[in-house]
Symmetry: C2
DNA sequence: CGCCGCATTGCAACCGATTGCAAGTTTCGT
DNA sequence: ACGAAACTTGCAATCGGTTGCAATGCGGCG
């Protein structure tokens, strides 16, 4: 079928080893043999079989990329960045779509069958135990957007969600909101709970605040919208921290249904600063998360793990900052 | 390092062949050996190395998934569908992000190195020659969202873009628009040109129309918005066919900047019917493209190619229909 | 009881590459 | 010109599995 090492060796009149060596960095081949081999390879249209070589080298350059969030537009940006960053380093993303599945067992088995060199868990909702399962199975793993910890069990790259919760609370208070609410992602999402914790921690320092909270079914426009519509049925707060931009945008849509103006009637602050939040018609005040750096850093970390698999687990936490646009009233 | 066939064979006290056979469908093994092997495998946590076996079987179950569109939110839906459909069939998507690259040579070489069983080119902008390059290299390929043709050189699954152009034109005319415009994707995108062709074909049948056209830099919100802003500087048309929903949404944002109401001051019809188009604040009248069926059908086709690689190229074209929402005035 | 046929099993070659080792060839200093 | 050091090169084993083939064992039948 396809042309192999042997064919090239035969045509070039050298041994298979010689061919192999001309295609591996830093092997000992004379200029003469090399050129003979290259000519033959050219002629036959040969390119080495990466999987066969992985058998002996133990490296496939395949990286499992796992996610469970295919409804939040931010993930298009995330995939774009990840796939490019990996490609630039000669690594290949093998995607696992985890929708409707929370058990790691299947993914672990599957990715081990394909001998991935490492795994990236790109999810802000999965618990640390998920990534841990790969670690336990001997597969190097980094959990991007994962729950940060002072002594992580696996590599984590992301933000301090608790601190973001505090930051949002402080921002609402600085603008004089007195009836504040947290509208978070699903209760089983670690990010939703961490942001909630930070938010509550901060608002509880004050006694003149009326605090409420609720959780959307998932991180999506529809869920954010539905939850805000529900809140508007009763007595809503006047300032909300929505745990994610796409929830915020859903919530904004609900406000608009009720003829309420964001930033005037009700304040909203999001988290992520995704592309859409900058759109004129949205203009969402939000907490910026440095996605690009997080992803670059994650892939850096993957490379370092490949060099030293026993590397001690590390948490890389990036600072966030508030981006002021139009959905909160001015600071008082 | 990891546990292999040999380890299991040793523990179970059988030959390596026996172990291999218990893990391959329909091989001849007695119940007794099978259970011995299964017990040993269980104990050692063995799972077969898919890549090693691919060496002899010639099947990796790896499918290259190539795209160059990571800025259009519709592609999040596309990736979701593709990855799930492939997984359900036991196939693994190996992603290639083609941003800023139009030459197939690199992708072909890379995917051949990884011995993918087949390739899916998911792009409405790449020319047929791109997919053809895989075919020529002996890699089965299906071009999803590709340019349809009566005698395709490779398998194509998608819609008839020319017909969609006509459909949009008819729709604008049925609603009494007289100064009509096409605001398409980039000029080098096959879909943009095909839609343009159909649109012009239809409007040129009438002499009482004033027709204009322009092309955005790419299929993105920003590009659609920028192009519409530019048009609004001069004398805009009163009814536009935007070659894609995300362009439409960008254009809507531009209208809103100028205080213009879609459906009242200027009509807009898009194409795709992506999730966002249904959002209240958008409510885009658009041409629905049956994404899910297209993707399922593409993956079906991949499976059939695996069975019969010499399969004769086929075009599977799905019908589209207009979804009426709020950005065109009522039919007159 | 003997023979036949079938299911099961292990041997060994092979898939496409890499690599340690030893033999052969250069290169270079003196 | 000679010998040692440094390169090159091919052989053969190996990576983790698969599979054709021949050998083995078994049951069943006459």
């Amino acid at each position: 079928m396809s042309v192999t090492l042997k064919d090239v060796a035969a045509l070039a009149g050298v041994s298979r080893s010689a061919v192999s060596r001309t295609f591996t960095e830093g092997a000992s081949v004379s200029a003469k043999t090399r050129s003979k081999v290259e000519k033959a390879a050219q002629e036959l249209g040969y390119s080495p079989n990466a999987l066969a070589s992985s058998l002996t080298t133990g490296r496939t350059k395949l990286i499992g990329l796992i996610s469970n969030n295919f409804h939040n537009p931010i993930f298009l940006e995330v995939f774009d960045q990840f796939t490019r960053a990996l490609q630039e380093r000669g690594l290949r993303p093998l995607i696992v779509n985890l929708t409707d599945e929370t058990e790691p067992a299947n993914s672990v088995r599957m990715l081990r069958q394909y001998s991935v060199d490492a795994v990236i868990v790109a999810s802000s909702t999965l618990p640390p135990s998920f990534a841990k399962a790969f670690h336990d199975a001997g597969v190097p793993v980094v959990h991007t957007f994962g729950r940060s910890a002072t002594s992580p069990e696996v590599h984590v790259v992301g933000i301090d969600n608790v601190e973001c919760g505090r930051m949002a609370a402080r921002e609402l208070m600085a603008r004089g909101y007195k009836r504040v609410g947290y509208l978070g992602g699903p209760k089983d999402a670690t990010s939703a709970m961490d942001r909630y914790r930070g938010f509550m921690e901060e608002v509880e320092k004050y006694t003149d605040l009326e605090v409420s909270h609720s959780f959307a079914d998932n991180y999506s426009f529809e869920a954010g919208r539905a939850e805000m519509l529900r809140l508007l049925e009763g007595a809503p707060a006047d300032g909300y921290f929505c745990g994610d931009d796409i929830l915020s945008i859903g919530a904004l849509s609900a406000l608009s249904d009720h003829g309420l103006k964001p930033g005037i009637d009700i304040g909203i602050i999001g988290l992520n600063d995704m592309e859409m939040s900058r759109w004129e018609s949205v203009s969402l005040t939000t907490i910026h998360q440095p996605i690009k750096q997080i992803i670059t850093s994650s892939v850096d970390l993957v490379e370092e793990m490949l060099k030293d698999p026993a590397r001690y687990p590390e948490a890389r936490i990036f600072p966030c900052r508030v981006i002021e646009r139009g959905t909160l009233r001015p600071r008082s």
